[in-house]
């Protein structure tokens, strides 16, 4: 590594120097989300020589991402974002170790993941995940660098920095709603500016220089270039520890995923999917087709050996009440790829009749 020539322009800054460059190289930053914000934060941290960067995202690149997620190429479409990002960084700066984590952040993996890094960056587009990141940062004692966008406005802050205020001190109402870029629309430059401000906070924390946006939220409007800072204080009303964290987030993750009857119809010839009917045998209309199997809910536990826990299973009943119970039961028995069919047989029947599959 020829560090001095690669990093010369920043090493000559008195705030950085050889010592600062060494701090960057020794630092570990975790970025949650490889979308618009992540695609800005990642290359700038990597170019500056941050030694280890984890990037978490289970999405693949879509064509509609490319107007703002500038590290991806047209040829990246359909590939995992984190793998494409890792390849991009390897070409940019081989000094940086990139950990590509193609998973969704969850209550199960957040704490063990966060423990391996010094700083966590929130580059997500979902309010619920922000609370999860905040809470896992509280437990692991990591600063959270927050950024988010609404159309032409963005917000930036640093939470839990040296025991400072958290996301919950600013936004205590966990059940609030806000639209993301998919629904609201966004231009790449807005995301770029906010992502850059987040990367700047990360670098300042590592270098221990400047003033960190702790206890302050910066609101930026790209249309008129107005920016405002608002101060907020730490509130003691929210307390969390490992056991309450696990309780809180394990419940949320066991919720039942659903699939619409229309989407089921598209999969009806897919041999990789098993259609499990948990109604009793005398219930009408009878629905049988090539990959369907009937096991009444009451017999499910006893006849579990008929099912493969790795198979994708779409469960249906008459009206999607028993099918949800069945999915929860199967989840407890470590079945992984389960969905409950919305509306059950009553929704499926008219659709199937059009395809002439029902034998009534």
């Amino acid at each position: 590594m020829n560090a001095s020539s690669r990093y010369n322009r920043q090493i000559i800054l008195p705030e950085i120097g050889e010592t600062g460059q060494y701090k960057l190289l020794k630092s570990k930053v975790l970025i949650i989300g490889a979308g618009g914000l992540g695609a800005v934060i990642l290359p700038y941290l990597a170019a500056a020589g941050v030694g280890e960067i984890g990037i978490v995202d289970d999405d693949v690149v879509e064509l509609s991402n490319l107007q703002r997620q500038v590290i991806y190429k047209s040829s990246s479409v359909g590939k995992y974002k984190v793998e494409e990002a890792k390849a991009m960084i390897a070409a940019l700066n081989p000094d940086v170790k990139v950990n590509a984590i193609a998973k969704k952040l969850s209550g199960k993996n957040a704490i063990s993941l966060f423990e391996k890094y010094d700083i966590v960056v929130d580059a997500t587009d979902n309010l619920q995940i922000k609370y999860l990141i905040n809470d896992a940062c509280l437990i692991t004692d990591k600063p959270m660098v927050y950024g988010s966008i609404f159309r032409f406005q963005g917000q930036v802050s640093v939470f839990n920095y040296q025991n400072g205020p958290t996301y919950r001190c600013l936004y205590p109402d966990e059940n609030s709603s806000s639209v993301n870029c998919t629904d609201a629309g966004v231009i790449g430059i807005s995301v770029g500016i906010i992502g850059m401000l987040q990367a700047n906070e990360v670098i300042k924390m590592i270098l221990e220089t400047g003033e960190i946006l702790s206890g302050k939220i910066l609101v930026y409007n790209v249309l008129n270039n107005e920016q405002q800072k608002y101060d907020f204080e730490k509130s003691d009303s929210f307390v969390i520890d490992r056991s309450t964290f696990e309780e809180k987030y394990s419940q949320k993750e066991n919720r039942v995923e659903e699939i619409s009857a229309e989407a089921v119809l598209d999969q009806i010839d897919n041999e990789a999917v098993l259609f499990l009917d948990v109604r009793n045998e005398d219930e009408l209309p009878k629905i049988t087709f090539r990959n369907s199997l009937q096991i009444p809910l009451i017999n499910l536990e006893n006849e579990i050996e008929k099912l493969d826990s790795n198979q994708t299973i779409y469960v249906f009943c008459q009206s999607a009440i028993r099918s949800k119970i069945a999915v929860e039961l199967l989840q407890k028995m470590n079945f992984k790829n389960l969905k409950s069919v919305e509306g059950g047989a009553l929704a499926l029947k008219p659709l199937l009749e059009e395809k002439v599959i029902v034998r009534d």
Binding site: G36, F150, V179, N180, A184, Y230
Partner: protein
């Protein structure tokens, strides 16, 4: 006159980024009540700042002329 600034989804409801409210000696709680009645923010949650400082919405505070209030909803894009 009290200036009220709006951000994000709140500004979409109000159709403006700020306005001046001509009231004297109105409490913060009553101002928020009036704005809710006028704009129907409904499920959009927000934090409130008075003079660049986030305060509790239920805080007992009588607004003074020249106070600047801001309504800050969380953003979710990224």
């Amino acid at each position: 006159m009290i200036e009220v600034k709006y951000f994000g989804a709140i500004a979409e409801k109000t159709q403006c980024s700020f306005e001046n409210v001509v009231s004297s000696n109105i409490s913060l709680q009553n101002l928020l009540k009036d704005l809710e009645a006028k704009y129907k923010f409904e499920s959009i949650s927000f934090s409130v700042a008075v003079n660049q400082k986030i305060v509790s919405k239920t805080t007992d505070y009588t607004l003074k002329t020249s106070d600047i209030v801001a309504l800050l909803p969380p953003f979710a894009g990224g």
